[in-house]
């Protein structure tokens, strides 16, 4: 009975996005584990976990190891860890990364649809990482990022117009 009442209450409160409840860290961890049973657990504490999962976004794609570091009250961090990623011939750094050397990839914009702990890592961060890898391999072909998001090469189009 009580749960039924609770559900109804939540529904009415839904429009206030900021009031979405955070998903407990343990629950985030369990959800990842059940979707990716082969994960490697590097670290698991009450307020932090580090796991490595394998992702292959497309049948043509390579398989990559992706490290996810999640700590309560901190932004989530995602790294590609199994290999030094190549750079497209006409570029000098990876696209959409926070840190090129650490291969720390960036998956969402800070404004608007910002990620927060009310969102399930398994249905947001992980598929986005898989998408990142998908577009990264296409980017290797010609240095063009096709995944959308902010324009990495805005000056390039500008120069083209000038010529």
């Amino acid at each position: 009975m009580s749960s039924k009442y609770f559900k109804r209450r939540r529904k009415t409160k839904r429009p206030f996005k900021n009031l979405s409840r955070p998903i407990p860290l343990d629950s985030q961890f369990e959800r990842i584990k059940s979707s990716f049973p082969n994960l490697i657990i590097k670290e698991k504490k009450n307020d932090k976990f580090t796991v490595i999962i394998k992702l292959r976004p497309d049948l043509f794609s390579k398989e990559y190891e992706v490290k996810i570091v999640y700590e309560t009250y901190k932004p989530i961090s995602v790294y590609i860890v199994n290999e030094v990623l190549e750079i497209a011939e006409n570029r000098n750094k990876l696209p959409h990364v926070y840190n090129n050397k650490l291969q720390k990839i960036c998956l969402y914009a800070k404004d608007g649809g910002r990620w927060d702990s009310s969102k399930s890592i398994v249905s947001t961060i992980i598929p986005w990482a898989s998408e990142w890898l998908f577009y990264y391999e296409l980017w290797l072909i010609d240095g063009i990022w096709q995944g959308g998001g902010h324009d990495e090469y805005i000056n390039e189009n500008f120069t083209k117009h000038e010529q």
């Binding site: 497309d58 598929p127 072909i141």
Partner: protein, 421 residues
């Protein structure tokens, strides 16, 4: 090989085929051009009007296996038959050729186009069998018009043959053509002693094998309609032939070979069509054809010199060997087998691209079919995936992270990152 991977390859081959094909507007422009030629020849003021002249597509344009040339500046060849009926007894081969040539030259545009092909070299007498009209660089094609006499009832026969099933009595579709290099060119008046050719019989043979019941995309009849609509959806055999022709063009364009001797399209088309076993998708058709093409090259003793020669017989004229030049010019035969070897090797590699990276797959398809078309296909894959996500239809498989149509729904988001590192 896993079915899922096979589907992926099928998708890539299909998209590559579309990129190699001429566009709808190119097709329509060509049709419009040759219809205009037909109209000019049959116009009531034309001296040829009495002979009921008609222009019909033949060759790859009729089989719908045309591909774009590798170099954008190069022309597409469009092969056409110009058929006349009611041959006057007095006409020789030369007379027919010149009658058609003269009428074309009466039109100042066609006159210029005949002149502009090969810088007027064939202006007086035309090529060996054809008159060639060189259209503007912008149009990007030239037309080979083959003068011929046909049975007075050819149109009816074509209609009959191409509206029914497998009856392969193609002899009655044969036409008589002229050959500048034959001894009797200026003298022979009996059409039965002229060179025989059967492009429509060949087309009937081809479509009989190409059409699969489960995917009957258009009626056979439409293939002989001179103004038939552009077909966006091609039959698996048509797509495979386009891919094979492009594979050949790429291989022989690297400067290592004398392009002159590359395998000719009619040999590729004939062998592929013989090997095709009504597979209903491109990848299965491709695998079967590449594996088995080789076995359809026959060997026959040449009665003139007793030597064993390679044969690729014309399916509608067993006497004709499409590979007759191989005996004279060894490179032609060697090149054909070098190409087959490469084709088989590349197919083996194509089937094991799984897990090597999309960029590596792109490299493979670039090497086989061209840089530009391959990039376009992979780029379209990226675009489609992004649209799928934005419309809320992209999903990710658990355990593997595979993006597609099953698993967890992928929420929309924007990639970000520091602009300055």
């Amino acid at each position: 090989m896993k079915q899922l991977y096979k589907n992926n390859i099928n998708n890539i081959l299909e998209e590559l085929g579309k990129e190699l094909d001429i566009s709808k507007s190119e097709h329509e422009a060509a049709v419009k051009s040759y219809e205009a030629v037909g109209k000019w020849l049959s116009d009531e003021n034309s001296p040829l009007n009495y002979f009921n002249p008609k222009i019909l597509p033949q060759g790859s344009f009729m089989l719908q296996t045309v591909i774009k040339p590798i170099n954008e500046e190069d022309d597409i060849d469009i092969d056409l038959v110009c058929k006349l009926e009611k041959k006057p007894d007095s006409w020789t081969q030369k007379e027919l050729k010149n009658q058609i040539g003269n009428r074309l030259k009466e039109n100042k545009d066609y006159n210029r186009m005949i002149w502009e092909h090969e810088n007027g070299e064939n202006y007086e007498e035309g090529g060996r069998r054809c008159w060639t009209l060189k259209y503007s660089n912008h149009a990007g094609y030239h037309m080979d018009i083959l003068p011929s006499f046909t049975d007075d009832n050819l149109s009816i026969l074509l209609e009959k043959q191409f509206s029914s099933g497998s009856d392969l009595n193609t002899d009655e579709l044969a036409i008589r053509i002229t050959d500048k290099e034959s001894d009797n060119y200026p003298t022979e008046k009996d059409v039965n002693n002229w060179l025989k050719s059967n492009p429509f019989g060949y087309a009937k043979w081809f479509y009989n094998r190409a059409i699969i019941s489960s995917k009957r995309l258009f009626s056979l009849k439409e293939s002989i309609d001179p103004v038939k609509a552009y077909e966006d959806e091609k039959l698996p055999l048509q797509r495979v032939i386009q891919l094979l022709k492009r594979h050949r063009d790429i291989m022989f364009s690297n400067g290592e070979f004398d392009m002159e001797h590359k395998p000719i399209s009619i040999i590729i088309t004939t062998l592929a069509t013989r090997a095709y076993d009504k597979e209903n998708n491109i990848v299965d058709a491709y695998i079967n054809i590449v594996k088995n093409m080789r076995s359809f090259v026959e060997e026959k003793v040449n009665p003139d010199n007793g030597k064993l020669e390679k044969w690729v017989s014309n399916p509608v004229n067993e006497e004709e060997n499409f590979a007759d030049k191989w005996a004279e010019i060894m490179e032609k035969q060697d090149y054909f087998y070098l190409w087959l070897d490469k084709l088989e090797e590349d197919m083996g590699n194509m089937l094991v691209l799984e897990g090597k990276g999309q960029n590596e797959s792109n490299k493979f398809f670039s090497n086989s079919y061209g840089d530009k078309v391959s990039k376009k296909v992979f780029s379209a894959l990226g675009e489609n995936k992004r649209l799928l996500r934005e419309s809320g239809n992209l999903k990710m498989e658990t355990k593997t992270g595979l993006l597609g149509s099953s698993g967890i729904k992928v929420k929309d988001h924007n990639f970000f990152g520091k602009v300055d590192e």
